[in-house]
């Protein structure tokens, strides 16, 4: 039985996607340490610099919830519920530590509940501000410093700034590779599908950084040289919204005569996005990148002179994706009970209506089944924009 470590390129990505914890278990058996974390906000550079492999804790659409309902209310989003359930049921049995975060309110509550159930030897909670003023950036920097100090204490290691800079460069390298990969979808037809892209991204979240980067290089070469397998379709869609942990919804969209050529989701561009700037004090670069440059609706972008200016501040970066990837329709997907995304929908729809870019709001239940009604909406939307 070949270890997942020996696989390469797209084959490896798909294998990791199908067996998310296999590689991490292999590495742990070799003596490596794994640090779980939530969302895209904990600064992974510090985690890896102090010797841990980061593992982004995600839910799964594929398993029914059994025990989490005894600890969380009905209106928590289905993904967090699943994350808690997997933990309680002992499915995530390979962690040496956990970094929680206040990204949305429910993730905050989840973080404490998770540690309560998992009792991991290292646990730290990162309090992430909701606005991007100078005081918030200072606060974020302090939070990161406290995280670093507590992990240093736990590991008995001191992390020199130069060492952290090196680590930042490695993570930036992976970010650049992801951007390169996404660049291959600018073509018409794109060189890889939305389904493949999601599989690759989800696999990166379960692999050590360098291993992930090597895999990305192999994939980029593979995709550039393989015979064209994606059909040209009129509908070139951008997917905005909540995390997707399985390809079911993207598959459904791409089977409705459309190509998903770009995304603004956090198991997508939001996780990788822009590089961390190399600042004299590396914590400045980290604070700016993780609080300000990371675009997610959980962060409140200050209103300026007018609603239009406000919308531009919040969504302008997506308009750029639309132009650069020649997108002609936007799918706003949100799992049920996500207030963070739900509240954004009217404003983002109004913004794109104003720019003349059609959009479709799809509220889903974070499932792999019962997608036919959603597919009818996507098909009607594709018919509408054709």
């Amino acid at each position: 039985m070949m270890t997942q470590g020996k696989l390469q390129g797209l084959t490896k990505a798909v294998d990791v996607y199908k067996n998310r914890y296999k590689r991490l278990r292999e590495l742990r058996a070799e003596g490596k340490k794994i640090m779980g974390y939530v969302c895209a906000y904990p600064p992974l550079e510090i985690v890896t610099a102090l010797g841990y492999i980061p593992f982004r804790i995600l839910g799964t659409m594929d398993e029914p919830i059994t025990k989490a309902d005894t600890q969380v209310p009905a209106i928590i989003c289905p993904m967090l519920r699943s994350m808690l359930d997997l933990g309680i049921n002992g499915k995530i049995d390979f962690l040496d530590g956990f970094i929680g975060a206040h990204t949305c309110d429910c993730t905050q509550k989840f973080s404490h509940l998770y540690q309560y159930n998992m009792q991991l030897p290292f646990y730290r909670f990162l309090d992430v501000p909701h606005v991007v003023h100078k005081p918030s950036l200072d606060f974020m920097k302090e939070g990161i410093r406290i995280l670093q100090q507590s992990l240093e204490k736990h590991t008995g290691q001191k992390l020199a700034p130069e060492r952290l800079q090196e680590e930042i460069k490695k993570h930036n390298e992976q970010r650049a590779l992801v951007r390169q990969l996404y660049g291959l979808r600018k073509q018409d037809p794109p060189l890889l599908s939305g389904v493949e892209t999601l599989q690759i991204v989800l696999s990166l979240l379960c692999l050590p950084i360098e291993e992930g980067s090597t895999m990305l290089r192999e994939i980029i070469a593979e995709v550039k040289s393989r015979p064209q397998k994606i059909q040209k379709k009129h509908a070139r869609l951008l997917l905005w919204g909540t995390p997707l942990t399985e390809t079911s919804i993207v598959e459904m969209i791409e089977s409705a005569d459309a190509n998903v050529v770009m995304d603004d989701i956090c198991t997508g561009t939001r996780h990788f996005g822009l590089d961390v700037e190399l600042t004299a004090d590396p914590l400045d670069g980290l604070a700016k990148r993780y609080l300000d440059d990371l675009k997610c609706p959980r962060t409140y972008r200050e209103a300026t002179d007018s609603f239009a200016a406000d919308q531009e501040a919040r969504f302008g970066y997506i308009a750029k994706y639309v132009r650069d990837w020649k997108v002609n329709g936007i799918i706003l997907e949100s799992m049920k009970y996500c207030d963070t995304h739900g509240y954004e929908v009217p404003a983002i729809k109004a913004y794109f209506d104003r720019l003349g870019i059609p959009s479709l709001y799809l509220e889903h239940e974070y499932t792999m089944v019962a997608l036919a009604p959603l597919k009818t909406r996507v098909e009607a939307f594709v018919e509408m924009i054709s």
């Binding site: 009604p373 009818t376 909406r377 098909e379 009607a380 018919e383 509408m384």
Partner: protein, 279 residues
Amino acid sequence: MNFAGIDIGSTMTKIVIINESGIVSQVIGPTGAEHRRLANKVMEQALTQGGITFDDLTYVVATGYGRINVPFADKQITEITCHAKGVASIFPTAKTVIDIGGQDAKGIKIVGGKVVNFVMNDKCAAGTGRFLEVISDALGLGLQEIGPLALQSKTKIRISSTCTIFAEQEVLSKLADGAPIEDILAGLHEAIAGRVFRMAEKMKIERDVVMTGGVAKNVGMVQAMENHLGYPVLVAEEPLLTGAIGAAILGREFVEKALQRGEEIQKGARLLEAASFFK
């Protein structure tokens, strides 16, 4: 040339065949578990009625919930696009379609015969024909009786619109209290109309408003919707057929465009047989 549109809804199957002079034949039959894979039987009925054979059909478009179970269709198009086309052909001034079927409700905005926006409720029976069915059953009345009865009410009684099952309980308890049946029915119609109105209003309803779907045949429902809108609603002679009409027209437009461009018309497998899907 003859063009067929087949609309397989969750409750009823509708077929319309058109040619240059207009509608050649139209058939409405129940879908149902047995009939689900037997769209071919309904098609044969429509062909007989029109006095033509299957090979006389230039193009067949299937729509509706069961559109994938039509082995003889050349193309599948969603019911949203088909209803818009059908309504626009009957009522050129239509800007909003409110379609209430057996198990779903839709709002569609039209500009120039094309869909520009739509909303759907296909997750919950409240606000659909199913709601009316459940309640009429509970009251021991036929579906065709409840509309006219509702119009006789002087004071409608408020019925919750959140859930069909809870509404049923409410109705029975109000009956037990001695409430007049026409007042209860008026409240019921108002509950559905209110729900559907709120859903459609997300798209900003504009006149002229056309109601389609089986529920549009209910005069009580049409009145309740007009009460919300504050102006009259248009209803086709046969509101169940607009989807199939639209599908047939879309088939014709597709073929005409292809002929204009000198393109070959891609047809489907054309198997006039039962859907093997369910074998």
